[in-house]
Symmetry: C2
Subunit: 260 residues, 2 copies
Amino acid sequence: MSEPTLYPESGFLRLRIDLAYDGTNYSGWAKQPDRRTIQEEIEKALSTITQSPIETIVAGRTDAGVHASGQVIHVDIPQAFESEDIAFKLNCMLDEDIRILKVTVMTGAFHARFSPTSRSYTYKILDANRVVAPLHRLDVAPWYRALDVNVLNQASALLLGEHDFAAFCKFREGATTVRTLMRFNWIRDDEGYVIAEITANAFCYSMVRNLVGAVVCVAEGRNSYEWISAMLANKERVPDSLVFEARGLTLRHVDYPGGL
Amino acid sequence: MSEPTLYPESGFLRLRIDLAYDGTNYSGWAKQPDRRTIQEEIEKALSTITQSPIETIVAGRTDAGVHASGQVIHVDIPQAFESEDIAFKLNCMLDEDIRILKVTVMTGAFHARFSPTSRSYTYKILDANRVVAPLHRLDVAPWYRALDVNVLNQASALLLGEHDFAAFCKFREGATTVRTLMRFNWIRDDEGYVIAEITANAFCYSMVRNLVGAVVCVAEGRNSYEWISAMLANKERVPDSLVFEARGLTLRHVDYPGGL
């Protein structure tokens, strides 16, 4: 079921499932042998409820420790199955760190992975060595030095547009690293957290955490704006950049055509 | 060291320590055999750092699963010990679900437990069967039915003042249940959480969670305002009231004379 089929096979219903999770205790979205993953938990629950083997297709394959507040998947379930109350039933079976937000029967063309026009993430940092509040620690990355949001924004603006982001992606044989970065914007919120809002048509593996690391290098005065531009142009990962940790990263939203 | 001694013994320094914790994975503040408690974690860390056995005195003994964002303790440490950087050293030793916010050497009279003029808690509910966001689940109690904040406030106002709160406390031989409830106020915040702000000179065991349960019984239409007043007057626990779960409860602030 991993080809871009925009409709379910005959006899099946396509469901869009919107979900959220705290990735702290999972080895990421994608199934792996002997690891607890979000995909496996969801597929197990869906297979139990529908009494048939269910495979999920996901919009954004999040890495180990990364969270989601607006992840989207699709599944094809036998038409004979009563699809009401699936969200409620799934939430009864799943741990509280995974929650189903909404289940929608899709009658038009829809593919969770291939239909999106963009994915949006946030990255949340508490800077200047401040103490992370225990109740808010799950999705915050602490950082030692103070960060200037204006510098973060100027450095980030250099990365906007369509580029080969090879310098900011973990190398994977055969995978393209050309992406369109539509938004990379920083704010400091009322509680003092420094938050990046990052949108692209799609992201390659560990790209957001590399982008965050690179602009933090500039905001700290460790590297110049030119260093960012040169890294982008050279398409080579540099050893003096930073990769920020997974827990600051949250998949917020997946955009589908027609504003879905 | 459990008598109300307002000054340390000669040769000792009294430290006030402000701290915060996520109580999810602890059997409450107070030490117990074979249980993981916040007191034990703190005392272990302090004893290691100071190389002497340290006992803590706490402002608010929180129950299993209850959180704190503004807990206060005091400890007496040998004067010879260099007290700088204690917060930093403790935070290096403690898990991230306990954080030291501030350490202050107290030169005047100060007793963490006996000096406070009041303790303030919040209780946070997500009502109407809405799904609790995984990243915000640590300190939220879900509730099935919708709650009317005005009714919650009217029921809560009946409980203000000095009363014998025996009906709202777990019975403990020899312990008084007379308390002064200074504030018991509900709001619905921007994100839709229903939050109680509760202040008293002191609380008896499980009192906040019983108070919350009683006024929710009224807000749901299950019981009347008169039922609240009668329960308070009769000083007897009634079987048809509710005790809300620990995780919605957070100790926010302890007030000391002089606005400390």
